[in-house]
Assembly symmetry: C2
Amino acid sequence: MRIIETIHEARQALVEREGSIGLVPTMGYLHAGHVSLIEQARKDCDRVVVSVFVNPLQFGPSEDLDRYPRDLERDAHLAEEAGADILFTPSVTEMYPRSTQVSLAVKGLSERLCGASRPGHFDGVATVVAKLFQIIQPSHAYFGQKDAQQLAIIQCMVEDLNFPIEIVPCPTLREPDGLAMSSRNVYLSVEERNQATILNNALSKVTTEVEKGNITQANEVVDLVKGMIQTAPLGEIEYVEALTYPYLQPITHLKDQRVIIALAVHFGQTRLIDNVIWTGKEDASCLER
Amino acid sequence: MRIIETIHEARQALVEREGSIGLVPTMGYLHAGHVSLIEQARKDCDRVVVSVFVNPLQFGPSEDLDRYPRDLERDAHLAEEAGADILFTPSVTEMYPRSTQVSLAVKGLSERLCGASRPGHFDGVATVVAKLFQIIQPSHAYFGQKDAQQLAIIQCMVEDLNFPIEIVPCPTLREPDGLAMSSRNVYLSVEERNQATILNNALSKVTTEVEKGNITQANEVVDLVKGMIQTAPLGEIEYVEALTYPYLQPITHLKDQRVIIALAVHFGQTRLIDNVIWTGKEDASCLER
């Protein structure tokens, strides 16, 4: 595996446009979730590029940019093990040599869920992903379903701007006790970590209730999930919402549509997100768990 | 020359990525200025694509979208004569099948000159050009220097978003009496058309005065140009500005920098723009006339 730090060198390494190129964009501090994306790319594509870049554009002024966990040596090891051919790790000045004049703007989809409390976040995500798409020119790009709103926005971006790239969604990976894997989990104290299992427990419980037909309304879903999370004293709910997916429109009934139940909950300084997406058909079978 | 109306068909026609591809994006109603861009692309590139698309996203609600002149048959003839291989003429629903969620946003550069009176105009230009870049994936793209602010923004977009595309600026073409060629010139009445020659006359005069060293300050340039335009009773000045180029920053002295003198003047319902760009060195020799 080659480690490449400059845009010029990345382009040189990929100048032969034969075959498929899979890109896995990450902010590093890789976990098994990222590894599963890289492994999927390895199965699908002739060449696999993993990018590691903590993108300042998607962090708000009071967010955790400076303390975001980093471990490039470990990332390189994990990426290589999972089958990456190139690890692209540009510096901030390599990606943003001057104040950006032209960037991407996301409306509609960016206004709800995480976008409501993180203004500009998804503009920053879309901008850096568009840049990576131009630098690497992948045929396929891999994104985890844990960041479901990000995934929806990237899918819209590819449609709206005609990027000739197939977006491959990959299921959320979980710890043995069900907590969704996240680089931010390392922030959690032992007690916060224990209580954070309530998030997946609540999503699992509500899924069962919907599958049994005991719950049919969006507000019942939200109430059940909120009620369970409130039993964890260290958890502070930012949002729990039931919306259509991927367009994130409000709903009343769950029936006959693809529905996301998404949540963001703070445990101390750490903000965790999780979600489940249902097909929303009469049988309410799970699409992704 | 093939005429192609769908994105899918355009991609199919260009699926072989061998050699260079030159793109000339236009809104149609081609004139000799466009033809010169196509001819330049023909000289530089293995394949030449001309797009004709009147982009609703870059027109304001009170602007001339509906009455913008169109003549596809004539455009096809001129494009083929000039050496185009493909004329790409998508419909509005082909380019915008649904309400756009993700688009491009231009700051800084878009706030002055034409951007001040046309809010959102350059966002619309950048968005459609980015889409065309993704659909055609040209190695080179050709833009006229008459739309100098647009050219500066496209050059910034390519840098900021890492498009692997060389932007080729082409000089403004003029009618025998000096009026800059524009599809909108057909709107002018005979009297307006006669008086509109003052725009180039003023830019030529001020260039001579600067070259002679009689003028060294930005405000003197602006005053001289405004004074001359005011002698044309049908002309109504929107702006005359002297700024750095391409970053469009205010200046006081002309010395030692690249300077644009740009103007927008209304003749009746018709809004005309023109400009001259100087190297701004001591000798103030013209960069583009």
